[in-house]
Amino acid sequence: MTNKAVIQVENMVKKFGNFTANDNLNFEVYEGEIFGFLGANGAGKTTALRILCGLSLPTRGKISVAGYDVYRHREKIKKNIGYMSQKFSLYEDLKVYENIRYYAGIYGLSRGYIKERTDQLLDKLGLEHVRNKLIQDLPLGWKQKLAFSVAVFHNPSIVFLDEPTGGVDPITRRQFWNLIYDASEDGITVFVTTHYMDEAEYCDRVSIMDLGKIEAIGSPDELKNNYQASNMDEVFLKIARKEKV
């Protein structure tokens, strides 16, 4: 982890009509950091995530991702980030190797490079034997590990993970975090949302959103100290306990 900010957010506001989904957000994410982006349902996480990925424009604010401005260089941002979510990650009716080839191809990687990296990747994940299987025939845990590896295949500077471990068995969930740690060691910045509070502890820093605002930001140890809590679950409950509609 370095002190170089790869995501810079100043006074970010996003409104939908009268509703303010993101209410003046300010934060930075540093190179190589694992940054946990937490909040209750409806707190505004997905809205912010979509802006940072170049999928939606903010109402106002100064925001740069991987060195590119979110108003002017959204296509550049998309080239330099990776993304995976719980809901959609890979094409169910394509084979394992076809999914890898497809995503790598979108990012303009060469055939030879894709072939070589695919072998390495499947070997590392222990999935060589399912290379020719359809995604729909794989267990959820394998899919998610594969989806993560595909999301970082083009060596993005930042990878965005939206609830990547929802519903995954506890052993696979931990193997997934080992992949995240490996990526972080390789210098990839990881921006992750989760409802598992034990996973918040695995992050270098976390922010906690409530009603469109960032209510707290810091390392898990700092937050636990500030809120006099023994774990992140307690911190979360203290910040986001208000009833949502």
């Binding site: 409806g42 959820l140 519903g167 068995d169 695995y202 679950d233």
Partner: protein, 304 residues
């Protein structure tokens, strides 16, 4: 008395075995938790018990009624909240409630007492369409609708999945309230930390029940000394622990790593020496009682 009796239930979808010879009882008035990840067979079992799916083999009864031959009777005495939100999105909160009450030949007023504590949270928004509610509110409406005909047994399939930690806690408080009123509750969840709220739990993985007991007894049956370990460099700590011949299992657990050791090894000497030799700073090693998640992973490892 037994509220739900399940005997040797198996279910396959073509070559995939979703449920493999499942047998257990749910006692009347208890909260029984079915704990397991996606794809472990939880929903198939719920669909069989709620008479929506036929098993290949085996039998099950609810309050003495057979899930195949007495399906009409069962539908009257159970309340079911499926995993996917399945209320009418374009009806309002109140219209959904009235609809479900009418289907069961009752009214909101008749059973208001039972749903009051839950319905009160959403009643201020009774003219809002269900599709416009937040996740936590939808969940409360779905629970209210499942309760409106005063069921004897409540079947809740992953009611807290994708719900934030605050709403999850509130939801469990509501279930404890319903238990007080004498309703038998069978609930499934992928969140291991929710096991502690149940009277008894079944740990399910790949269609098989790995263990059925009280949360306390499941923890007690963990056969190994468990240690929570941390140092300043957690990434390197995991790699080092995984490479050590002293170590039997290594799992990340919040801001600690949970470790069991090979037979005969002692954490205070061997493990501490090993980590000091690898230049770890600020090492903590402490013996801890296992959590349900530790037990689940141990059982998973054993099955494989």
């Amino acid at each position: 008395m037994t509220a739900v009796e399940i005997r040797n239930i198996s279910k396959s979808y073509e070559e995939i075995k979703a449920l493999d010879d499942i047998s257990f009882d749910v006692n009347q008035g208890e909260i029984f938790g079915l704990i397991g990840p996606d794809g472990s067979g939880k929903t198939s079992l719920f669909r069989i018990l709620t008479t929506l799916l036929l098993p290949n083999t085996g039998t099950a009864t609810i309050m003495g009624y057979d899930v195949v031959s007495d399906f009409k009777k069962i539908r009257q005495i159970i309340g079911y909240m499926p995993g996917r939100f399945s209320l009418y999105q374009d009806l309002t909160v109140e219209e959904n409630m009235s609809f479900y009450a009418t289907v069961f030949g009752t009214t909101i007023n008749e059973n208001y007492d039972l749903v009051k504590d839950i319905y009160q949270h959403i009643e201020p928004f009774r003219t809002r369409r269900a599709g416009k509610l937040s996740g936590g509110m939808k969940q409360k409406l779905a629970l209210s609708c499942a309760l409106i005909h005063k069921p004897e047994v409540l079947m809740l399939d992953e009611p807290t999945t994708g719900v934030d930690a605050v709403s999850r806690k509130e939801f469990w408080d509501m279930l404890l309230g319903l238990k007080e009123k004498g309703i038998t509750i069978m609930v499934s969840t992928p969140y291991m930390d929710e096991a502690g709220k149940c009277d008894r739990v079944g740990l399910i993985q790949e269609g098989r029940m790995m263990s059925i007991d009280t949360p306390g007894m499941i923890r007690e049956s963990f056969e190994f000394e468990l240690y929570a370990v941390r140092s300043d460099d957690m990434y390197r700590l995991i790699k080092d622990l995984e490479s050590s011949s002293l170590v039997r299992s290594v799992f990340l657990f919040g801001h600690y790593v949970h470790v069991t050791l090979q037979a005969g090894d002692k954490a205070d000497k061997g493990l501490l020496n090993f980590l000091e030799n690898r230049d770890h700073r600020n090492i903590t090693i402490k013996k801890i009682p296992p959590e349900i998640e530790d037990c689940f992973m141990e059982l998973m490892t054993k099955e494989n």
